[in-house]
Each structure stands twice: as structure tokens, then as C-alpha cells.
């Protein structure tokens, strides 16, 4: 900028300014829309989180709701469960989705369309049906137990839905089953934008398929891996549908999630929207922290 006096530099500076200005035009609609439909309600929700009471009779209580969180065993259980789902489920799903997308990107593979659609199908299946069917499959005398017993993998049926530990496992299986195909799409589409000549060159250099995967595919897909990790983290922290439909948070509240608790506080119990908003802001804070870590780990700042 210090050399901005020379005419050529002045021109590039003006050009840059103009580009900067056009850049804002590209994003202005989104900024306005999100401010109106998301930030404005979010500010209101924050004000709500400082209030307590039932239904429409709310009064300001300052940060009392935030203090109340720490003495609320249901909240603590919901938080622990949610973080457990997150730690186990997200990595497994991301890796699975990557593997599927690389396998299904192979142009010499037959029935690609069928395999892709089949694996994506769980994501579009209505949750109502899928919950009914899942509960059959994982019932005490359901097909899953029949299969495992028949294969002699287990000696007595597993209480997939009524045991606190196994119910969590069932939920993890259910989310993975439903969302792996969904994540696969992001990778599949991104793989099309990868320059194929890099693979050619690697093969000429004698790189194995494994090496190509780790040294070409993964680094190139990094922005998308970051994207899916953050989106899945958010999705899991806001996990609601599967739990609501498969276990309703039970047995006891051993599969309860934070989002399900928010729902209960708002609609199932006598509504306390203030406290529900407080719990929502906890999710927000958690996601901010985790996303920050993920951005850092992925080194997206360069």
C-alpha cells in the first residue's frame, strides 16, 4: 500500500477495491436473510434464556437459568449422552462415508448407481417407518438377535432397546445407518472436482491404492472433510429425531439428548421456554468450541 503512488499500483488498488465491493454484492443477500431469519430470533432466544416461568407468564431472572443447569441431573445426563454419541459416532461415520465414496467413485465398478442409491436410501426414508422397523429389528426376539444367536456370536439375546448401555449402542447404529449415505454425497461430488492427472502421475510413480488414498485423496478433500465433520458435529449435538422415535430417551433417560430435553421442556412438560432457551445456548457454546478446534486441526486458516 505504501507504493500506491505509482499509476499501475493505483489501478490495481482501485481494481481490488472494486472487486471487494463486488464480493460484498455476492454475499449481501445471505447476510440480510440470515440476520432476519436467524440472528434476530437468536437474540430474542437469548433474552428468553434470562427469563423463567411457565407458558407466557415469564419474568426476568438474570443468569439463574444458567446456574440451574449445573444442578439439573437430567441436563447432565443429556449432555453426557450427547457427547458420548458425538465422540463415537462422528469419526466412524466420516471414515465409512469416505471409504464408500472412494469405492463408488471407481468408473470400472458395475452397478454404481444401484449401490449409491441403496446406501443413500436410509437418509430419505421417513423416520416414522424407519423407527417402527428399527424397533422390530432390535427387539428382544427381533431379527438382529436371531441372526447373532444363529451365528453363535452371542449366547443370550441382547436387550437392544431396554438396557441403558445397549440402547445407546442402538442409537449410535441408527444414526450411522441413516447418515453415512448422506455424508457420502459430499465426498462423491467433491471427488469429481479433483484433478485426475494427479492420480495418473502417482500411479506412474508406483504409488499403491492405499498411498493414493492417504496422500492424494485425503489432502485434496480436506475442505470437505472439515465441512462434514463440523456439520455432523452440529447434527449430533442437536440429535433429536432418532432418539425421539426409537427410544423416547429411555430406558429411564439413558438415551436422552440435549435437543430432546429442549423439546420436553418446551412441549412435553409444562412449557418453560426460558429454561429451554438456556439449554439451547449451551449447545451453541459447545458447537462454537468444537468447530473452533476442528478449524484449527484442519489448518483452514492458511
Amino acid at each position: 500500500m505504501s507504493q500506491a503512488s505509482s499509476p499501475t499500483h493505483q489501478r490495481t488498488f482501485a481494481q481490488r477495491l472494486r472487486k471487494n465491493y463486488i464480493g460484498w454484492l455476492f454475499i449481501i443477500l445471505s447476510v440480510l436473510g440470515i440476520s432476519l431469519f436467524y440472528f434476530y430470533p437468536m437474540v430474542q432466544a437469548f433474552l428468553l434464556s434470562l427469563q423463567s416461568g411457565m407458558g407466557s407468564s415469564l419474568e426476568y431472572v438474570g443468569f439463574d437459568n444458567y446456574v440451574r443447569l449445573f444442578n439439573d441431573p437430567t441436563f447432565i445426563t443429556a449432555l453426557t449422552n450427547t457427547i458420548l454419541y458425538l465422540l463415537i459416532q462422528v469419526p466412524v461415520m466420516i471414515v465409512l462415508a469416505l471409504v464408500f465414496s472412494v469405492l463408488l467413485n471407481d468408473p470400472t465398478l458395475k452397478f454404481k448407481g444401484f449401490f449409491r442409491t441403496a446406501i443413500f436410501l436410509p437418509a430419505v426414508t421417513s423416520l416414522v417407518a424407519y423407527a417402527v422397523i428399527f424397533k422390530y429389528l432390535f427387539g428382544n426376539d427381533g431379527l438382529v438377535n436371531d441372526f447373532l444367536l444363529g451365528m453363535n456370536i452371542i449366547s443370550s439375546p441382547i436387550a437392544w432397546l431396554s438396557d441403558p448401555f445397549w440402547a445407546k449402542i442402538t442409537i449410535i447404529i441408527a444414526i450411522t445407518w441413516r447418515w453415512t449415505g448422506y455424508n457420502m454425497i459430499f465426498y462423491l461430488s467433491a471427488l469429481q472436482n479433483v484433478d485426475k492427472s494427479m492420480y495418473e502421475a502417482a500411479r506412474i510413480d508406483g504409488a499403491s491404492a492405499m498411498q493414493q488414498f492417504f496422500f492424494i485423496t485425503i489432502p485434496l478433500l480436506k475442505p470437505i472433510i472439515l465441512f462434514t465433520s463440523i456439520v455432523s458435529t452440529i447434527g449430533t449435538l442437536q440429535l433429536f429425531d432418532e432418539v425421539m422415535n426409537i427410544t423416547s430417551g429411555g430406558p429411564g433417560n439413558s438415551t436422552m439428548t440435549i435437543s430432546m430435553y429442549i423439546y420436553n421442556l418446551s412441549f412435553e412438560y409444562t412449557p418453560d421456554f426460558g429454561y429451554a432457551a438456556t439449554v439451547s445456548y449451551v449447545i451453541l457454546i459447545l458447537v462454537v468450541i468444537l468447530s473452533f478446534i476442528q478449524f484449527r486441526v484442519a489448518g483452514d486458516r492458511d
Binding site: 407458558g55 420436553n264 412438560y269
Partner: protein
């Protein structure tokens, strides 16, 4: 590649999109306009309810019985959970726009609505006589001395059982009438031993059966003034002991879904179904079992003052405090509130059992049901209904139950009953102070 998206293609997209946006908006225009006029002059009442074969059908029938040419009502079907969400969202935002005039609310949820949104509902006590209705329906539908709900269906419970299984185990109908839950547990063990069948099917996430047991003594999780009473609640303690006995003795076929619950009795896997009368159509759905079922009164808890009658579910109609409230209340009062004829048709055509007492003397109530061995099921239910002890469900039934169900899990694993209830008490008091 740049030619892939030609100008023509773009024009087409823009044209289609414009057409669709216009379609979407004009669709909204028609309705929006219509709504405003309805709210303006009070004509065109709307009602929200769930279940087309039951509540919706009842409303339609009521409309047929209502002699008022000027009265128009649109009945809108919504799932119960959906109604709860819509009402809460609408009422709490203060936007009454689009809210219905009449809404059906489950009795156990009613207090939380009435107390959370005090001005949102219209008192309708002047439009009918509360004394004509089963007494137990009044507490949940009124608040602060005002009557807000018009009592609709009863959830009066019965002990549906398979005559063949019970006979095989050595029991006649008389052995099953007016028994206690302790006796029920013993019978269950006998049935299991002699026929190999489970006695009943339960979803471990649904504590409805505990409420059924508890209400036979007129007790609830909370007292009338809303105080939480879990610790030292003897009926609850006894109900839990019975519940554990059932679970421990392998007489329960567990289910985790409504469809599995239905399957348990439709496929003949359980010998009995202790549930509200509304389960009858689902029992009758398996036609091959006609003549194999009967209904006995609900078992009571083994305590003084307990009666062989209880309740599970049931809902009532409420009128929102918006334009059209008088017309809506009048409609309800003239039909659900006082029309004996209407209730006869209701039983015959819809199979719904109301809580309007004068109706039970009508002919339709004397019907002998072949499926249930020619038992006068409807009449029996209507008699039991009058005995149901009144309880105030309060505002926190579902909240307390979530806390309790976590503790019950530990109780089944061996934690002492005293600790279970006192821990639940502490948690509940923390949460709902």
C-alpha cells in the same frame, strides 16, 4: 463446457420459478383472505382434533346433530403432538392468528395449558351442567374455580382377558371380577405356568400402568395444591411393588412400540390387556379371536378406599378466547354438553364412549357385543366410569414421570424402594419448584 447452461435454459428456469412463486403466494392469498374474514365476523368456526375414526368422527357427528343453519365449522385433523406444538407456539408468541376456536386437549395435559396461558381460554361453565358429567372429569378440566373444558371421552379402564387362556389356568369370570393387583400378579404367574403365555405386554418407557394402579385409590404424583408427593406415597409404593413383581416373574412380554403392543394381543401372545376402553377396536381387529375375549373391572390396589375403576387417557374440548368463542361454546354445550340422542349415535356409529352420565340409560349402551362373548361392554364401561376416583393431574405429570422412569430403572436393578422415591422426590422438587 461453458455452453452447458445456455441462455434458453436460464430463461426456462426463471420462468418456471416465477410461476411457482406466484402459485405459492397466490395460494396463500386465497387462504389468508379467507381467514381474516372468518376472524372478523365470527362465522366459520375451526376445530382441531386428532384421530379421524374417533375424535374427528365425533365432531362431525355432533355437527350433524346441531340444529343451527348459520353455524359452519371446519374440522382440522392434527396429530396430538402436533396440536401441542402448534398451540404452545401460537399461544406463547401471542399471535392468535390461525389458532382454532375449539381444540381437543388430553386431560393430563390440560392443566399445563390452562395455567401457562391464563387468558387464552374461554370459560364455558355457563353452557352446560357440570353435574351431568362423570365427577373425575371435572378437576382436570377446570382451573381457579372456572370450568374451561367440556368433558369428552372417558379413558375408563378394563381388564380385557382371553377366556380360553384363563380357563386353562383354572379361572372363571367371577374369579377375575373385583380383584386386587396382588391377585392379578398371582393369576399372571399361574397363567404363565399352566399355559406358557405372558399375562400382559408393557413398554418399559411408558408408565401408564402405574397411573392406572394409583388412580384406583384416588392418588397421584402430586396433591391438589401441586405439591409433589413421591416419597411416602403409599399407593405409588404399592403400585411399584406390583410392577416389579410382574417384571421379575417373567409374565410380561416387553414391547418398545405401539405396533408391537398391538401385535402382542392380536397374535395371541398375551392373556390380558389392562387398558382404557379405547383399546377395544384394536382388540377386535383380529377377527379370528371373536368370542375369546371378555372384560372384567380393573384390579384395584390392595388398600382401603381403593375401587375397581380407573382411567387411562381421555380428553376434553376447550374454547379459545378469540372471536367466535360464544358460537363455539354454544355448539359444544348443545351437542356434547346435553344431547342424549347424540351420545347414542356416538356409541353406535363411532364407538366412542362419552362421560355424559344421562346417556348411559339409552338403548345403544345396552348393546351386547359378540366379540366379547355377548357382554354389554359399553354399559359395563359406563358404570365403571362413574366410580373412577377423581384426581387432580396437576401440571407436571409427564415431567415427574420422566424423572421417575429413570429411577424405576434402578429399582428394577435392585435399588431400595425408599431410596428410589426419595431421590425422585428431590429431583422433581428441584426441577418443578
Amino acid at each position: 463446457m461453458r455452453e452447458k447452461f445456455s441462455t434458453k435454459f436460464w430463461l426456462l428456469i426463471v420462468a418456471i420459478l416465477t410461476a411457482m412463486v406466484l402459485a405459492a403466494c397466490s395460494g396463500g392469498d386465497d387462504e389468508g383472505g379467507g381467514d381474516e374474514t372468518t376472524e372478523g365476523n365470527g362465522e366459520g368456526i375451526t376445530a382441531w382434533a386428532w384421530d379421524p375414526n374417533f375424535n374427528i368422527a365425533a365432531l362431525e357427528l355432533a355437527l350433524e346433530h346441531y340444529d343451527n343453519e348459520d353455524f359452519e365449522m371446519e374440522i382440522i385433523e392434527n396429530a396430538q403432538d402436533d396440536i401441542v406444538q402448534r398451540l404452545n407456539t401460537g399461544l406463547s408468541s401471542g399471535t392468535m392468528n390461525g389458532m382454532p376456536n375449539i381444540v381437543l386437549i388430553e386431560d393430563q395435559r390440560a392443566q399445563s395449558f390452562l395455567q401457562s396461558y391464563p387468558d387464552a381460554f374461554y370459560p364455558i361453565g355457563d353452557y352446560f351442567n357440570t353435574e351431568d358429567f362423570a365427577e373425575y372429569k371435572i378437576a382436570p378440566t377446570s382451573f381457579d374455580g372456572e370450568q374451561y373444558g367440556l368433558p369428552f371421552d372417558t379413558g375408563v379402564t378394563g381388564f380385557f382377558y382371553r377366556t380360553d387362556y384363563l380357563e386353562e389356568a383354572g379361572y372363571t369370570h367371577d374369579d377375575l371380577v373385583d380383584i386386587t393387583w396382588n391377585e392379578y400378579v398371582e393369576i399372571a404367574k399361574d397363567v404363565k405356568e399352566k399355559t406358557g403365555q405372558a399375562m400382559l405386554s408393557l413398554d418399559p418407557n411408558d408408565l401408564g400402568i402405574l397411573r392406572v394402579m394409583m388412580q384406583t385409590t384416588g392418588t397421584w404424583y402430586t396433591t391438589e395444591d401441586g405439591t409433589i408427593q413421591l416419597e411416602g406415597n403409599e399407593p405409588l409404593q404399592m403400585a411399584l411393588e406390583n410392577y416389579k413383581e410382574l417384571m421379575d416373574n417373567d409374565v410380561v412380554k416387553l414391547n418398545s412400540d405401539w405396533s408391537q403392543y398391538l401385535e402382542a394381543f392380536n397374535s395371541g401372545d398375551v392373556a390380558s390387556v389392562p387398558a382404557g376402553n379405547w383399546i377395544a377396536p384394536s382388540v377386535e381387529a383380529e377377527e379370528s379371536q371373536a368370542g375369546l375375549w371378555r372384560v372384567a373391572p380393573t384390579p384395584r390396589l390392595d388398600m382401603e378406599g381403593a375401587v375397581n375403576a380407573s382411567n387411562q387417557g381421555g380428553s376434553s374440548f376447550y374454547v379459545l378466547n378469540i372471536d367466535g368463542k360464544e358460537e363455539a361454546a354454544e355448539f359444544l354445550g348443545e351437542t356434547f354438553g346435553s344431547n342424549v340422542e347424540f351420545y347414542q349415535d356416538l356409541v353406535q356409529e363411532v364407538g366412542a364412549l362419552g362421560t355424559y352420565i344421562p346417556a348411559s340409560e339409552g338403548d345403544a349402551y345396552q348393546f351386547e357385543n359378540e366379540f366379547f362373548n355377548n357382554q354389554q361392554v359399553v354399559y359395563d364401561f359406563s358404570q365403571w366410569m362413574e366410580e373412577i376416583p377423581q384426581v387432580d393431574y396437576g401440571m407436571n405429570t409427564y415431567g415427574i414421570e420422566d424423572i421417575l422412569s429413570a429411577e424405576i430403572q434402578q429399582y428394577l436393578d435392585g435399588k431400595s424402594l425408599e431410596d428410589v422415591l426419595s431421590d425422585a422426590q428431590t429431583q422433581a422438587e428441584n426441577q418443578f419448584k
